[in-house]
C-alpha cells in the first residue's frame, strides 16, 4: 500500500512540469518579447482589446528563438494564439507550418497599412525601425553622416557591431560595392577592412546600450529604438540618417498560430493593433515607426530614422531586405562574419 502511494506521488511530481500553466477561460494568449515590449503591448493594445471585447489577454514572454522552439514542439496544438516576432524569423514559423493564413476580411484596418508591412499571406508588420549608425558626439570628434564614415581610420577601436545578426552591415557593405543581400559576397573585402575598427561585438540590445553608455562602443550599428531609449535616459547619442545609403529596416510582425481555437479573437487583436489610434500610441511609447500611414507621430520623432510616414519615405529612407534571403543566408553570414571579421 505504502509503495503504491510512493509511486503515485512520484508520478504526480513528474507530471507537474507537463501541465500547462492555468489560463483564464477563453483568454487570448499572446507570445511576445519580455520587458518593455510586453508591457507596452499590454498597455496599448491588450487592455483596450479586453475593454472592447471582454476577452482577457495573457502573455507568454521570451526571446525570439526560445519562443520559436516552444512553438515548434507545440505544433498542431499551440500554447499561444498570436505571435509577435521579427519578419525574417517569421519565415521560419511559416516554413514549419506554424502560422495560419491571415484573413484580411477580418482585418479592415489593414487597408490603411503601408504596402511594405504586408510581409506574406501569413504575417503582417506591427511596427518598424531601422538599424543605422548611432554615436556619442562627446566621444567622437568628427561628425558621422554616412555609412562610409565607419571605415574612417579615426574610428579605429570605437565601433560596436551586432554579431548575433550581422545582416545589416553585410548588406550595407554589399550595397556600397554594387551588390545587395543576395550577392553579398561583393562586399566581403570591404567588410574585412572593418576588422580593426571594431572594439566589441554585442549579442543583445542590453549589451549594445551598455557599450554606448560606458563609452566602450561609442559608435554603433544600432537599433533606432534603443538609440531613442538612450536619449530618453539622458545619454546624448546622435542617430544618423545616412546620406549615402539608407538605414536597414527591421519590421516586427504579428501572426495567428496554426491550430488556435481563438482565430477570430486573434484577428480582432491584430486589427486593433493596426488601427490609427493604437499605432499612434505605439509610436509614442515604443519610439517605433508606424505601419499605419494615418498614425499621428510626435513632432520630436517626425523625420527621424525608422519613422516612416508615407510610401515615399519607406522607399527613400529605408532599405528593406528580402526576408527569405535573409533567413536563408543568416547562418552562412554569421559563419563568414565570425571567421573573417570577429576573430582577431
Amino acid at each position: 500500500m505504502r509503495s503504491r502511494l510512493m509511486v503515485t506521488m512520484l508520478l504526480a511530481l513528474l507530471m507537474v512540469p507537463l501541465v500547462p500553466p492555468a489560463r483564464a477561460q477563453n483568454a487570448l494568449v499572446v507570445s511576445i518579447w519580455g520587458g518593455n515590449w510586453k508591457d507596452t503591448v499590454d498597455k496599448v493594445v491588450g487592455r483596450p482589446f479586453t475593454a472592447r471585447t471582454g476577452i482577457p489577454v495573457e502573455y507568454e514572454v521570451g526571446g525570439t528563438i526560445d519562443r520559436l522552439a516552444k512553438a515548434r514542439v507545440a505544433k498542431g496544438s499551440p500554447l499561444v494564439d498570436l505571435n509577435f516576432t521579427t519578419t525574417h524569423v517569421a519565415r521560419l514559423y511559416i516554413s514549419d507550418g506554424l502560422y495560419d493564413k491571415l484573413d484580411l476580411a477580418k482585418l479592415p484596418n489593414s487597408k490603411e497599412i503601408a504596402r511594405e508591412a504586408f510581409r506574406s499571406d501569413f504575417h503582417i508588420g506591427s511596427w518598424a525601425y531601422v538599424y543605422t549608425v548611432v554615436y556619442r558626439p562627446d566621444l567622437v570628434k568628427e561628425d558621422i553622416t554616412k555609412w562610409s564614415d565607419l571605415w574612417k581610420p579615426a574610428l579605429k577601436g570605437k565601433l560596436a557591431l551586432p554579431d548575433f545578426d550581422p545582416s545589416h552591415i553585410i548588406t550595407i557593405a554589399a550595397l556600397m560595392e554594387g551588390g545587395n543581400e543576395v550577392n553579398w559576397q561583393k562586399g566581403e573585402a570591404r567588410l574585412k577592412q572593418l576588422k580593426d575598427s571594431v572594439a566589441a561585438f554585442y549579442s543583445t540590445d542590453a549589451q549594445s546600450q551598455d557599450l554606448m553608455k560606458t563609452g566602450q562602443g561609442p559608435v554603433q550599428v544600432m537599433l533606432s529604438v534603443n538609440a531613442y531609449h538612450l536619449q530618453e535616459q539622458g545619454i546624448a547619442v546622435k542617430v544618423v540618417q545616412p546620406t549615402d545609403y539608407p538605414g536597414v529596416v527591421g519590421i516586427d510582425t504579428v501572426a495567428v498560430m496554426a491550430g488556435t481555437k481563438q482565430a477570430d479573437a486573434a484577428h480582432q487583436f491584430i486589427n486593433l493593433a493596426l488601427s490609427r489610434d493604437i499605432q499612434s500610441e505605439l509610436v509614442r511609447t515604443l519610439r517605433v515607426g508606424p505601419v499605419n500611414a494615418g498614425a499621428t507621430v510626435p513632432a520630436s520623432l517626425k523625420g527621424q530614422p525608422g519613422i516612416f510616414l508615407s510610401p515615399a519615405e519607406w522607399k527613400e529612407r529605408g532599405y528593406i531586405m528580402n526576408d527569405e534571403a535573409r533567413a536563408k543566408n543568416l547562418p552562412g553570414w554569421r559563419e563568414w562574419f565570425t571567421a573573417n571579421v570577429v576573430k582577431k
Binding site: 509503495s3 512520484l10 561585438f201 543566408n329 543568416l330 547562418p331 554569421r334 576573430k343
Partner: protein, 262 residues
C-alpha cells in the same frame, strides 16, 4: 528496496533521453532558412571541425586550465587563513567576504567587471575588456569562492601537530609548507581543481559579457549556432563534441589525480 531506485532510474532515463535526442539532432541535415531538417548526415560533425570552432575549443581548454591554476594560487592563502586563523572575527570576516559573491549572481558580478576592466574606472596599461585577459580575470573571480571553501575544508583536516613536528626538527616555514602542508592538502587541491576546471569548460556569461564577441568558449559557440544561426543540428553536433571532450579531459585528470603518489 528496489523501489527506492526508481527516482534515480527515472532521472537517469530523462537525461539519457535528452542526450539521445541531442545526438539524433546532431545527425540531421540543416536546411538554412527552414526549421525542417533533411536526412541523416555526418556533415554537422565534420562542420564543427572547422578552424573557428576548433579555435573555440582550444581557447576553452586553455582558459579553463589557466583559470584553474590562477584560482588555486589566489585561493590558497585565503583558504589557509580561513582554516588556521585563531581569531573567530577574522574567520567570520573571511567567510563573509568569500561567500558574498554567491549572493550577487553571475550576471551582476560580470557586469561589475565590465566597468572595472573598461577604461572608465581605471586606466589599464594594456587592454583588458573584450580580451582573453579580461575573461580570465572574470573566470578566476567567479571560481574563487568555491576553490577557497574546498581548500579550507582540506586544510582544516590537517592536524597542525605534523607542521609543529617538522618545525621542531629544524624545517623552515617554507620547507614545512612545501614538504608537509602542501602534500597533505593535495586532496583539496585536486577536488577544487577538478570542480573549477569542469565548470569553467561550460562557462557562458563571463566570456559572453567580458569577451565582447571576440572571445568565444564552447557554450558561446553552441548558443551562437543554435539561437543566432537557427542551426540546431550544428549546435547539437558541437554540444556532443564538447561533451565528449569534457568527459575525456575530466577522466584523464581524474586518473592523473588517482595515480599521484600519496
Amino acid at each position: 528496496m528496489k523501489l527506492l531506485l526508481l527516482p534515480a532510474l527515472v532521472v537517469l532515463a530523462v537525461f539519457a533521453a535528452a542526450l539521445a535526442a541531442l545526438f539524433r539532432w546532431s545527425l540531421l541535415e540543416f536546411v538554412p532558412g527552414s526549421l525542417q531538417t533533411g536526412g541523416l548526415t555526418l556533415a554537422n560533425l565534420r562542420g564543427v571541425l572547422a578552424p573557428q570552432y576548433l579555435g573555440a575549443i582550444r581557447d576553452t581548454v586553455v582558459l579553463s586550465a589557466l583559470t584553474t591554476v590562477l584560482t588555486l594560487v589566489a585561493a590558497y592563502p585565503v583558504a589557509y587563513a580561513l582554516a588556521r586563523t585563531p581569531s573567530r572575527r577574522v574567520r567570520s570576516a573571511i567567510l563573509v567576504l568569500t561567500l558574498a559573491p554567491f549572493f550577487t549572481g553571475a550576471i551582476v558580478r560580470t557586469y561589475a567587471w565590465v566597468l572595472v576592466l573598461g577604461n572608465t574606472v581605471l586606466a589599464w596599461p594594456v587592454p583588458m575588456l573584450f580580451t582573453e585577459r579580461g575573461v580570465l580575470v572574470g573566470l578566476v573571480h567567479f571560481s574563487m569562492p568555491t576553490m577557497i571553501l574546498v581548500l579550507a575544508a582540506a586544510l582544516s583536516h590537517i592536524d597542525p601537530v605534523y607542521e609543529r613536528a617538522a618545525a621542531s626538527l629544524g624545517a623552515s616555514p617554507a620547507r614545512v609548507f612545501r614538504r608537509v602542508t602542501l602534500p597533505l592538502s593535495m586532496p583539496g587541491i585536486v577536488s577544487g581543481g577538478l570542480i573549477v576546471f569542469a565548470w569553467t569548460l561550460s562557462a557562458f556569461p563571463t566570456p559572453e559579457l567580458l569577451g565582447g564577441g571576440r572571445v568565444k568558449m564552447i557554450a558561446n559557440v553552441v548558443k551562437d549556432l543554435g539561437l543566432d544561426s537557427f542551426n540546431w543540428p550544428g549546435a547539437a553536433a558541437f554540444a556532443m563534441l564538447a561533451l565528449a571532450l569534457t568527459l575525456a579531459l575530466l577522466t584523464a585528470l581524474g586518473r592523473l589525480a588517482a595515480g599521484r603518489p600519496s
